[in-house]
Symmetry: C2
Subunit: 173 residues, 2 copies
């Protein structure tokens, strides 16, 4: 069967080796920010695999990075969840709940400084020790969709920095 048949996509697992680790002030889930937009100014750093340092060239002049990372402490997946932003339940894929079938987190963080394999960043909303899977330049003309409609989120976001996590999505899977 050709590699790109849908049957194959659903049955073949993919395996990744993290490219680094994210260090943050957060060793516990309770009380941490729930989105990078709610963590503005909170400092952390990326410790990249030193073998990959060559790939950091030309990041200077970029103010923000998209981080993709493995949510290593989330609990069992529930397909209907209570988001931190609403009291009513919602379908998992209509939320940013971390307890997803494939637990990959996405955060846009500020790049502050670089020194070899170490990147100083701000706006961190992940646990200390989080395995980093990928980092991409954040490029608004490619990534933004002005005027996008946001469904149930409309009117419920308020100030994201006022929202803090509890342990509803954490624990052993």
């Amino acid at each position: 069967m050709p590699e790109n048949e849908p049957q194959d996509a659903l049955t073949s697992e993919v395996t990744y080796r993290p490219i680094g680790v994210i260090r943050t002030p957060f060793s516990e889930v309770a009380g941490m920010p729930v989105q990078s937009a709610g963590a503005i100014g909170i400092g952390g750093r990326i410790e990249l695999d030193p073998a990959l340092v060559e790939g950091l060239a030309d990041l200077d002049g970029m103010s923000h990075l998209i981080l993709l990372y493995h949510l290593h402490r989330v609990g069992p997946v529930k397909l209907t969840v209570h988001s931190f932003f609403d009291d009513r339940p919602h379908g998992l894929f209509a939320t940013r709940s971390p307890a997803r079938p494939v637990p990959i987190g996405l955060s846009v963080v500020r790049l502050v400084a670089m020194d070899g394999p170490t990147l100083e960043i701000e706006d961190v909303d992940m646990l200390d020790g989080t395995p980093l899977l990928d980092m991409k330049p954040y490029v608004p003309p490619l990534d933004d969709r002005p005027g996008a409609r946001i469904g149930w989120y409309e009117g419920r976001l308020g100030d994201p920095s006022a929202v803090r996590s509890d342990d509803r999505f954490s624990g052993p899977r």
Copy 2:
């Protein structure tokens, strides 16, 4: 050693089972769009694992989704690459090249319609049969950073729909 120690993060692989497959008009890499912002209006669909349909509740009213997917046809990783947007070479992590150490693609697509586990979408820039890892609601107040500086991309994006792929990043790893 605690699970969140950096040494552990760099040596422990993560394994994911895709949640569905993305169907698009593109069976070959050459000539396809290189970004969803350069694929506006190109139709495709998501075939979600039927066991996960409950998680789609409350997506109605949302115009755009963030898709994370496994780039299943990319070739060997090079840490210095030639982006489709520039003639000069750049560090891999300062580009959106698909041939990354952890080959996860990110696209913001338009949600057009839903019918059970099938989602009609537009703005697709991935190969037909691409394994879908995650889908998240795109929420501008959480995801956008107006005024972000984009380094070498500045002045080089032009009309992304005028840029088409060749096979420079594809092939067996």
